[in-house]
């Protein structure tokens, strides 16, 4: 009896603590660790997906876009409260939120926003009309809202020192390039002051260092490989996004694999499942399409199973030069995956030499799928993969499928996996609800009362 009474009291105390923890609390510094070590607070050009995500997350805390896109691909108000377009989508009008101020205290007037957007898009005509602004183009812009929601279209200015000045929940307090970024709460944020007083981001920390720091409660939020979800058994809360990255083989125009049959055969020879289950430790999804299934719903139409028999039939009679397979050495999994692909290629007598030197005939690459809007995502992916821009004849799924199919039928790109990104939060971080597309929302988190 005494033992049962003890257990009851212990459970009651835990429930009480949990109740206390759910109550929002202002103050404290959220400690974050990131892999990338940017020397400027901009979206990187040619960086790794991790660099992109890190920059996008930082910018999303500093600046706002006109609109946001949810996981269903629908636009949500941000700096723009409402919008409308003409019938053919060539002219869009946005009604802007009033009273918004930049971190430097200046008002985020329509004219300022017009100037910012106009400078970024020379093919647009951006005008101000009272509290609204209009965006016009000679060609239809059905995906304009998704475009405006991309991190590159965040509304921000640059200070004299080149630091971003936005309207977001946090402002830049200190930036030591490549080492440390301190953000302070924006007291005048249009969305309301964030709970945390500050966010301290340590840059250039490896995943191993991040994991150790989280384990030792020296940080509150880290990046983590998605496969850590399966291995997670501690107090850390690991959240994985929807698959927002694509791993694929890309054949550059200079590749010796000029014969499309070789490329198609190689696509058929790759056994994605063992790679996903072993090397990716179950994370992600085998893919034969550019866009993930959650975005389109049709990716299952593209078969991911290896078919060596069919590959050999396709390959029959074609010239099979020895190809050099390159990969991104910054990606810790890329080398093993590349070697596995080379092994698969041996099955059909295609020689893939995994090497980082020389001119690559095929590259194992990982790109970001930056938008929840499928059409925008396909365009961005095609651009990133060096493919021709997709021809979208409409907004329907069929149009999207036809366009993607046309791109893939060239066999210049072999999609392999759709991969999520993941974060792990420490126990003292409360109300941690990362977006399903990998974005963070640190303005809504608070810290436990007993934390420093």
């Amino acid at each position: 009896m005494r033992r049962i009474a003890f257990l009851f009291l212990a459970a009651a105390s835990l429930l009480g603590a949990a109740e206390g923890a759910t109550r929002p609390r202002y103050g404290g510094t959220v400690r974050v660790m990131l892999q990338s070590a940017p020397t400027s607070l901009e979206l990187p050009a040619g960086g790794t997906p991790a660099d992109y995500w890190d920059a996008a997350r930082i910018l999303s805390m500093i600046a706002d876009n006109l609109v946001e896109i949810d996981t269903a691909g629908h636009a949500q108000p941000a700096l723009a409260l409402s919008w409308q377009s003409d019938m053919n989508g060539k002219r869009w009008q946005f009604t802007l939120r009033r009273g918004v101020k930049f971190h430097d205290g200046t008002a985020a007037l329509p004219a300022t926003i017009t100037q910012i957007l106009g400078e970024r898009h020379s093919d647009w005509t951006v005008r101000t009309a009272g509290d609204s602004l209009t965006v016009e183009s000679e060609s239809p812009m059905p995906s304009l809202l998704a475009e405006l929601a991309l991190p590159r279209n965040a509304i921000l200015k640059r200070s004299a020192s080149g630091l971003p000045v936005g309207t977001g929940a946090f402002r830049v307090a200190d930036f030591q390039p490549g080492k440390l970024l301190k953000l302070a709460a924006n007291e005048e944020s249009w969305a309301g002051r964030p709970f945390a007083d500050a966010i301290e981001i340590e840059l250039g920390k490896s995943q191993r260092d991040q994991a150790i720091a989280l384990e030792l409660t020296k940080t509150d939020l880290i990046e983590t490989p998605p496969q850590a979800i399966t291995a997670n058994g501690g107090a850390q809360r690991v959240r994985a996004s929807l698959p927002v990255e694509l791993m694929a083989l890309v054949f550059p125009s200079s590749s010796k694999a000029q014969d499309a049959r070789v490329r198609e055969a190689l696509a058929l020879a790759i056994d994605r499942k063992p790679i996903q289950s072993v090397l990716l430790k179950g994370a992600g999804e085998p893919a034969a399409s550019i866009l993930p299934n959650w975005m389109t719903g049709y990716s299952r139409v593209f078969p991911v199973q290896a078919n060596l028999q069919r590959a050999r039939v396709v390959l029959a009679g074609s010239r099979q030069p020895a190809l050099t397979l390159s990969y991104d050495p910054r990606d810790p999994q890329a080398q093993l995956i590349a070697e596995r692909i080379a092994l698969n290629a041996r099955e059909i007598d295609v020689t893939l030499q995994v090497s980082l030197s020389g001119v690559a005939d095929v590259t194992l690459t990982r790109i970001v799928l930056p938008s929840s809007d499928s059409a925008t995502c396909l365009r961005e992916a095609a651009l990133e993969l060096g493919m021709t821009q997709p021809l979208l004849h409409g907004n329907s799924v069929e149009d999207l499928y036809s366009s993607e199919r046309a791109l893939l039928d060239l066999h210049n790109v072999i999609p392999l996996f759709h991969l999520p990104i993941a974060t792990a939060a420490g126990a003292r971080l409360r109300n941690w609800q990362p977006g399903r597309t990998g974005n963070w929302n640190l303005s809504d988190v608070w810290l436990e009362a007993d934390s420093r």
Binding site: P274, S277, V278, L279, K281, L336, R340, A342, V354
Partner: protein, 587 residues
């Protein structure tokens, strides 16, 4: 070639041959010794390699055994037997274990031969491992070709099973057999080791490794390696890297067999031939020095010996030459009692006999000459004496029987007596003149001019005898000689006169002049009846004549003139074939 020179040459050749034979013998012996030493060295390295191979094999087997007995492998084996196979959890196990055990290769393979984890090729999980005979799972190390992402390589492997449950888990581990392995061998100086990894169907020069990686000039070793690859047996060859023979190396190639006895590799032990070549050069130099010295000494000794041996022969030859030159008093002083001594004694006896014979001949000739002289004198003197006798008898008879006619007879008789006395004087004068032949008064003389002059003198006489035709064949550019033209004129006159006398029935006289390198030649030929050999032999004897009224002095005078000019005279004649007198005078 002189006898002494021949002896000298024979001695020198004998010494040279002896030196050559000894040098060749030493050279062959040395070469065999070197080859033997080279073989010993190669065999030593080969034995060392085998020992090192065995040791490393044992070491590999021990490491693999340790890996198989490790906690992680035992755990994996246990999980497999429980049916829970998750390759994702094992993919790095082999690499970690290989690192712990310092193995280059390690794979964990389940009982179906599927790779669960590979250290050398992590991405190879799920692929089948080529079948390994179960019998070697507990045996020692073996050679095996291993596929790697960067290509194939050769390794020394061992297999051990993790003894957990019914389904065994095999640990297949090994170490590279490459230049790193070669660098662990203790190689004698002047020797190097190379390893050919027999990974391709055809010869691949990149598979030939030395201590620095891919061996340079590998293609020169291709035939040797190919021979070993095909036959599976050891082979040897000498490889010449450059035109310099001292850069050559002797290679001993040994096959390295895999578990199925196929040649997985070829070990090449190379020994520099520089010591041999340098030794050869030293021996050749020494042989040449010794040979040259020997030949020189042999020449000196041969000179002394040949001189000693040939001295009697040379004396004999000198004596023979003197005898040939007419000195029959030549003697050979030979004190030895051998064959040469007998030969010298015989020679001396021969010269004494010849001298005696010559003296007898001279005496006989002298007697014959006196007889001939007496005969000639008698003949010459008899003719004028008979008229003298008759005249004196007539004077006596006239005094006694017809005194009145005595005065007339006396006058006629005294005239006859005076004429005959003068005749006797003339005869005596001719004989006296021959004995008083003068010495030549030399001056530059053109022989053709003398011929022309003599023929001009005989022109009238020859004209009377119209049946004799004179033909001259004179060399136009006949060189001048130093001679007495008057004596030559007289000698040639005698020859022309003889030729005229030899042609009582007419014929042709041919006078020729020719020049040679060291002499000029003048010949007078006739187409007369010719002479017998006996007549030719005695022709130049004074007072010997074949003519009815000759004094026998003409040809003797000619020979005397020619001899006084240092020349030589000869006659060629055949019966009914004419006679040719040839005079040779030095230039």
């Amino acid at each position: 070639m002189r006898f002494r020179q021949k002896l000298l040459l024979i001695f020198a050749l004998t010494v040279f041959l002896c030196v050559a034979v000894i040098s060749a013998s030493v050279w062959n012996s040395m070469q065999r010794s070197f080859e033997h030493a080279n073989d010993d060295r190669a065999n030593s390295v080969a034995a060392q390699f085998r020992s090192e191979f065995q040791r490393r094999g044992d070491e590999v087997a021990r490491k693999v055994e340790a890996a198989a007995a490790s906690e992680s492998v035992q755990r994996i084996a246990l999980e497999i037997n429980r049916g829970a196979v998750d390759s994702g959890g094992y993919v790095s196990e082999a690499r970690n274990l290989a690192g712990q055990q310092h193995l280059d290769f390690l794979e964990l393979v389940d009982h179906q031969g599927t790779i669960l984890s590979s250290a050398q090729w992590q991405a190879k999980f799920g692929y089948p491992e080529p079948a390994i005979p179960s019998s070697i799972a507990s045996a020692g190390a073996f050679l095996k070709r291993e596929e790697l992402p960067s290509g194939s390589t050769l390794g020394l492997f061992a297999i051990r099973a993790a003894g957990v449950g019914e389904q065994p888990l095999y640990a297949i581990g090994g170490e590279r057999l490459d230049q790193g392995f070669l660098s662990t061998l203790d190689i004698p100086a002047g020797t190097r080791v190379m390893l050919y990894q027999n990974l391709d169907a055809n010869w691949n020069p990149k598979s030939l490794l030395d201590l620095n990686g891919a061996a340079a000039g590998a293609d020169k070793l291709a035939p040797l390696v190919e021979q070993v690859r095909r036959s599976g047996k050891e082979a040897r060859s000498v490889i010449r890297w450059t035109s310099d023979s001292s850069d050559a190396e002797s290679f001993h190639a040994m096959p390295l067999a895999g578990p199925n006895q196929q040649a997985m590799g070829v070990l090449l032990v190379g020994s520099s031939r520089r010591p041999l070549v340098e030794l050869q050069k030293q021996i050749v130099s020494a042989a040449m020095l010794v040979g040259g010295t020997g030949i020189l000494v042999a020449i000196l000794v041969s000179l002394w010996f040949a001189a000693r041996v040939t001295k009697p022969v040379v004396s004999l030859a000198d004596a023979a030459r003197r005898v040939a030159a007419g000195d029959l008093y030549a003697k050979v002083n030979v004190e030895s009692s051998d064959e040469l001594g007998e030969l010298a004694a015989a020679f001396n006896r021969m010269t004494e006999d010849l001298l005696q014979q010559k003296e007898r001949t001279l005496q006989a000739e002298r007697v014959a000459a006196w007889r001939e002289l007496a005969r000639r004198l008698a003949h010459e003197l008899k003719n004028p004496l008979f008229p003298l006798q008759v005249t004196v008898e007539n004077l006596i008879r006239a005094k006694e029987k017809a005194p009145e006619m005595f005065e007339e007879v006396f006058r006629e008789g005294t005239a006859t007596l005076l004429a005959e006395v003068n005749n006797l004087k003339t005869i005596i004068g001719r004989f006296s003149e021959f004995s008083r032949m003068p010495q030549p008064q030399r001056k530059a003389t053109q022989l053709n001019e003398i011929v022309t002059s003599v023929l001009r003198v005989f022109h009238a006489q020859l004209k009377e005898k119209s049946q004799i035709v004179v033909r001259t064949e004179l060399e136009p550019d006949l060189p001048m000689i130093s001679a007495d033209p008057d004596l030559l004129h007289r000698a040639l006159s005698n020859l022309i006169l003889n030729a005229i006398d030899a042609l009582p029935q007419g014929g042709e006289i041919i006078v020729q002049s020719k020049s040679f390198a060291n002499r000029v030649e003048l010949s007078v030929s006739d187409t007369g009846s010719g002479l017998t050999p006996e007549e030719c032999g005695r022709l130049f004897t004074p007072y010997y004549t074949t003519k009815q009224h000759g004094t026998g002095q003409g040809l003797a005078i000619v020979q005397s003139v020619v001899s006084d000019h240092g020349g030589r005279m000869s006659v060629e004649s055949t019966k009914q074939g004419g006679t040719t007198f040839r005079i040779e005078l030095p230039r």
